[in-house]
Symmetry: none
Subunit: 199 residues, 4 copies
């Protein structure tokens, strides 16, 4: 079991799945890309499905590490921005993985890990919203709906970033949060704004 060979297969799979999508990807593509023999693939992974799931498991693990629990004693908005920024950074570091994850493939069983992760994220957002409502700083709303909306915005935006040359991750993260918090409307008066200001 050479860790090296396994690594080459994983990297190859990333590229191939990312470019062609799971169904159009063939084992032949992966082993060509990895430069190993056909049989070797099955030494490391039980099946095509298996290597995809492994990939997804790794992504979710990494993503979870990048999401830190909010410390209420510090500026919470800033922490949220930083969480979003770290996720964007990961997506840009691992563009192939990001593409795989964000291409919602019509295969619930296959992408279960990812779907579950996204459900958790929605839960997290909902929780924060309810907290904000309780604290009187977030307006009453359908938290489930809004939660999904914010997730959707996040996903679509990150997907579009994968094709940009240069990305100012902090600025983008701030823009996303600003959208979620204040929307696009211009404040009527000239009062202060900016997502983390004053909190």
């Amino acid at each position: 079991m050479s860790v090296q060979t396994r690594g080459r297969l994983i990297e190859a799979a990333k590229r191939v799945f990312s470019e062609k999508g799971y169904h159009n990807a063939q084992i032949a593509h992966i082993i060509d890309e990895a430069g190993v023999a056909r049989g070797t693939f099955y030494l490391y992974f039980k099946s095509k499905e298996e290597i995809l799931k492994e990939l997804l498991r790794e992504v979710v693990e990494e993503l979870k590490e990048r999401i830190r629990v909010i410390d209420i004693n510090e500026d919470p908005v800033h922490q949220v921005v930083e969480n979003v920024e770290r996720i964007i950074e990961f997506a840009l570091e691992e563009k192939e993985l990001a593409r795989i994850v964000l291409q919602r493939n019509s295969d619930p069983e296959l992408f279960k890990v990812i779907d579950e992760f996204f459900e958790e994220v929605v839960g997290l957002i909902e929780h924060s919203l309810r907290l904000g409502i309780d604290m009187g700083i977030v307006r009453e709303c359908d938290t489930s709906l809004i939660g999904r909306g914010i997730l959707g915005a996040l996903k679509e935006i990150i997907l579009s970033l994968l094709d940009r040359e240069e990305v100012d991750t902090y600025a983008v993260a701030k823009e996303i949060i600003e959208l979620g918090m204040r929307g696009v409307w211009k404040p009527a008066g000239g009062e202060s704004h900016g997502v983390s200001s004053g909190v």
Copy 2:
């Protein structure tokens, strides 16, 4: 060429693609569902790919009909809400189609019509944003990013509605627009709000 048979195939394809996804769907499933013989399918559609594309073409056509151009002399926000509402209504009327369209499938060639439609929608949103900025009612922002964000929110929310029993389409549409305009933040003061108020 019986219009009836064609219709049955189309309806069957909707159900099958929606449930299994394009790649896991088989012609066998579609013809079983439609109750016709194998050869009959090919009397109406050149291939599996063809019937999917036909389906998507029809969706896009229908969607475009439901999106009305904004009349600046009337309350624009209200019109946007109605556009969104009509789209939601369509998604709920044609849940299978909606599922097919919203499952971002990793097959650019196949889903080209849909992707192009979404690009148009982003363009539309961007245009509105820029108009709002010029009119001084929308804040300066990265319109491309925000445009995609709003589209993403819309898509994710509608997808989640497909599993709800009862949906108040107007309320949801309003909630979505409210999110895009004012975000989730509670206005500091007690002033009036609500998306269409005062216009």
Copy 3:
């Protein structure tokens, strides 16, 4: 049973079989060419095979009519030339049919009538040769071999004529017989020759 419709199908089949060959020909092509409906075809012919066989039967019948028995009291060579000429004329009148017949299709069962006809022709040639040998005007030879050779030459030459613009059928017939009788060698001396001379 409209004789007209039947005729249109036969004519269409000639063209289609001739151009595409039996296996690449489809009933669809024939009915399109004939301008009749699918079901109509089966009103007149039991199957695709049947219409081909019918075609071939008609050809053989026509060909047999054009071959006259040699009258020994007249110039026999001249009569042979005329037989060959009539066959060439038929091939040129019915180029499509000729093409079908001369394309030895690898389907013994299908082209049985034709093969049998050709066998008869070989028999006829063999018979003439043996007669000639008995009369002392034809040299001793493997009549079966020579018979087939002459048939082969005939077939190949006629096939090539189908693409020529203008054909002098009598000249060609004479050339063929001359080849069979005297070969291409130039007579050593300067004596008279020409196939029918002196008999």
Copy 4:
């Protein structure tokens, strides 16, 4: 890519195509005959068409090797007889191949290599004829017609040989050339004859 397996497929294809003809031949027949699995076939050949073309390419190559250029310093007729003999020998060694090649199949695209080869042969014969005419030993004639005639005779005769038990290849070759040169007519006087005599 085992050369062995490829060879078994080629041999199987020869038998199957020869017996059933291209169109009636199925991949199933070939793989059964070769004793390999369905997929194995496609490891070596892209399609049924491909293996036929490969077969034909090999035949033409072999045939061309058996045809030697005539050396004018030696007895030319004898050399022609030997060329013909070598071709007959090949046909008898590879009866299946011969049958495939000689069954004029109604599929120009498929049998292009063969048709081109035959065209070359006609060209060769025509060239020889014109040479003979210039040298004054061949009579004036329509060389194109005669060329095709000789080819046709050759083809038909060889085809008939495939069913004979014992074949004296030299005798047959001589008979064919004799037919082409002197025809079947018995020389009027008692002079010398025999194709290569006197050179």
